[in-house]
């Protein structure tokens, strides 16, 4: 990085962020399946092993529990492993290590040890892939105390949120919106970033709040633009963090707009929209003019790719919920 500001894709921003971390902290390691010579199946780790060596950018055996379990051991030795899980659907063999060990070990030691492990997971659909390659399992991590869960929606956040995740002394599950990997935007690698877990208003509006994170932020911005043409003023919040959730920001927006629609790719049932709806309804009971509505995946396995356009929340489904919310007479 010689320039401080560059137009980068999300994938390249993550690559740059890993590079910065490897350069500045000798304790940072990158590990996972195919992250070395191949540079990862999405090329997100491209060139890192060449520049930092096999000792720091580590191709691991094909065993996710082993990857996370050894990352925990490395963290105990003082390293800061950044682990890649190749696809969302392949994190489950590691789930036990994440939930029973990584999440709980700091508390188990009454704070005497720290577990600075980042788990990068490309997630979400719309890439035309086969089974297990398009899921959004963030709820399954957010429910678990001890983990932090974040998801950037743009290149600058991708860069900085990863920096912050790596610097955090807590385990962070970092969900990468894989369908947006090639979306490009300005990244200032010298800017001082805001807090990792704060939401950001990405479009101001007065009639209704759309809250989303990761891949759905763009969809919501498009929906807001389309709604504007019909004279509806939608505010769009990029939540950025799923554990914790910046409820203060959502509350503030809802106190203004009186209506909230939460959008995510993950199934609605027990999804993050449920938590946001429950809490915001409690916080804003007298402000809400409509129930909090949720747009997300269905209670069905992620479908074969020829059906994913129907399964995933798109512009039209978001607008449909917006209309339904606006139809309420508060």
């Amino acid at each position: 990085m010689t320039m401080s500001t560059e137009k980068l894709t999300i994938a390249k921003a993550i690559n740059a962020s890993l590079r910065t971390a490897l350069e500045t902290d000798p304790k940072v390691l990158v590990m996972g399946e195919d992250v070395g010579k191949l540079g990862g199946v999405f090329r997100v780790t491209d060139g890192l092993q060449k520049d930092f060596g096999e000792d720091r950018v580590i191709d691991t055996p094909l065993a996710e529990s082993g990857i996370v379990g050894t990352a925990i051991g490395l963290a105990l030795r003082g390293y800061r492993p950044v682990v890649e899980i190749q696809f969302d659907g392949f994190v489950f063999p590691a789930y036990d290590q994440i939930v029973t060990q990584l999440a709980k070990m700091h508390a188990r030691a009454l704070g005497k040890i720290k577990l600075p492990v980042v788990i990068r997971i490309p997630y979400g659909g719309a890439i035309g892939a086969v089974e297990h390659h398009s899921e959004s399992p963030e709820s399954l991590f957010a429910h678990v105390a001890g983990l932090k869960v974040v998801s950037p929606s743009n290149a600058a956040d991708a860069y900085w949120m990863l920096q912050q995740a790596i610097q955090s002394d807590d385990p962070v599950i970092y969900f990468e919106p894989k369908r947006r990997y090639h979306d490009r935007s300005e990244v200032d690698t010298t800017a001082i970033p805001g807090p990792l877990h704060a939401a950001r208003t990405v479009r101001e509006g007065t009639d209704l709040t759309l809250a989303a994170y990761g891949p759905m932020v763009k969809t919501c911005l498009e929906a807001a633009a389309a709604a504007a043409e019909e004279g509806k003023s939608l505010e769009v919040l990029d939540l950025r963090s799923i554990s914790p959730i910046d409820f203060d920001a959502v509350q503030k927006s809802v106190e203004k707009t009186g209506r909230l629609v939460v959008v995510h790719e993950a199934p609605v049932f027990f999804g993050s929209g449920a938590e946001i709806a429950a809490r915001i309804t409690e916080r804003c009971f007298y402000h809400l003019e409509a129930p909090v509505l949720r747009v997300g995946g269905y209670h069905a396995p992620y479908p074969p790719s020829r059906l994913e356009d129907e399964y995933l929340p798109g512009l039209d489904r978001v607008l449909d919920s917006v209309d339904r919310a606006l139809a309420y007479q508060g």
């Binding site: 399946e33 191949l38 055996p61 094909l62 392949f90 086969v130 089974e131 209670h299 129907e310 489904r317």
Partner: protein, 380 residues
């Protein structure tokens, strides 16, 4: 088809024997047909096939390769979203697939197109998931061929459980669990070894060591030959030349016979090579060198059997020409079937989540149908 496998039941340790290819430091490799197409003998595994059977194996491999190539082409043309080619692994798959009986049961990975062929699965059935119209969708019980499994190693446990059931039933069927060299690192495969050993389940673990797990060479998974893994779990392992269809057939048959006669599990490591990319999404030039591929081209499983057939005069020009025609016809049928595969109905995504129904699914289906109908309304 006669496969004499009695000797195999008591694995011997004689190190000097014909057919046991063993370079210095390299483990034994059961081989019955050299890369040059010469028949060699092996003290533990022998095979005696009729010319027709030999031609049959050749035909299986040729048709499988043609189907596989056609699928790769269809992916390039945008008809499939992805394809996982078996190019180079035809002998490992046809040899082992042909070793199974109808009542045996097979648990494949996502690359077992040749095994599927042997089991009688129509190859076009395999394409649905790669086209994105379903996640498999065939009836596993029709040909005792389970659905393709993508989560690496999972199916080893399903196979073991199925085999435990076979044993409970007192049946003399056997089960085959396919997996790759990469999969050998997964805890599930190790647990399958443990369960199979403890319950003496009639399951053959068939590992196609094609040298690569995407970009990672086998040394990233193990520092000793994979077939040796079995020993520590209390059952035998053997490495077979995975590009020698005769040896694979003989060894797998022996392992299956062992299993069906109550002698428990066995691990077969078929030493082979993935000639193409991991899948059509992969670019192997990033991690391996052309020379390696060239080395393995010289061991091509199809050329080697063809050389033998020709040298021995077991197949004539008419046979090869006829097979060419048959291949073309298969490719054409595959092409046409794929192209005419309809997209599933939108409501299909709600089907089969449950066998006995689920009120939430019903509710969401109804909402979705109403939502879609609202567009139809609008566009009226």
């Amino acid at each position: 088809m006669t496969v004499d496998s009695t000797a195999a039941r008591k694995p011997r340790r004689s190190s000097k024997r014909a057919g046991a290819k063993k370079a210095a430091g390299e483990p034994e490799l059961v081989q019955l047909l050299t890369p040059e197409g010469e028949r060699v003998e092996h003290p533990d595994y022998s095979i005696d096939l009729s010319p027709e059977e030999l031609r049959g194996l050749y035909r299986d491999m040729v048709l499988t390769r043609r189907f596989d190539g056609e699928a790769t082409t269809l992916q390039r043309q945008g008809e499939l979203g992805l394809w996982a080619s078996l190019l180079g692994q035809e002998a490992a798959q046809i040899g082992s697939g042909r070793a199974t009986r109808d009542d045996d049961y097979v648990f494949p990975t996502y690359r077992e197109h040749g095994v599927a062929w042997c089991r009688g699965v129509d190859p076009t059935n395999l394409l649905g998931m790669f086209r994105g119209v379903n996640h498999g969708g065939w009836d596993p019980n029709e040909n005792n061929f389970h659905l393709y499994t993508i989560v690496i190693g999972s199916q080893a446990l399903h196979a073991t459980g199925y085999a435990m059931g076979v044993a409970k039933d007192g049946a003399d069927s056997a089960v085959v669990a396919y997996f790759g060299d990469g999969a050998s690192s997964q805890g599930d495969v190790a647990e399958a070894f443990t369960f199979a050993a403890v319950y003496n389940a009639p399951v053959v673990f068939f590992c196609q060591n094609n040298q690569w797990a995407i970009s990672e060479p086998t040394e990233r998974q193990t520092r000793v030959p994979l077939y040796q893994r079995a020993q520590g779990y209390g059952f035998p392992g053997v490495r077979v030349d995975g590009n020698d269809v005769l040896a694979v057939l003989a060894v797998t048959k022996a392992a299956l016979d062992r299993a069906r006669t109550g002698q428990g599990p066995m691990l077969v490591e078929a030493f082979t090579y993935r000639m193409g990319a991991h899948t059509t999404s992969d670019d192997p030039t990033r991690y391996r060198r052309d020379e390696e591929r060239e080395l393995w081209e010289a061991k091509d499983p199809i050329l080697r059997l063809r050389a033998y057939l020709e040298k021995q005069g077991l197949a004539d020009e008419a046979f090869f020409a006829g097979l060419e025609t048959e291949s073309d016809a298969l490719a054409k049928r595959v092409r046409e079937t794929v192209r005419s595969m309809p997209d599933p109905d939108h409501l299909a995504m709600f089907e089969h989540t449950y066998a006995d129904g689920h009120t939430l699914v019903d509710e969401e289906r109804a909402q979705f149908a109403a939502y879609q109908a609202s567009f139809a309304e609008e566009s009226k």
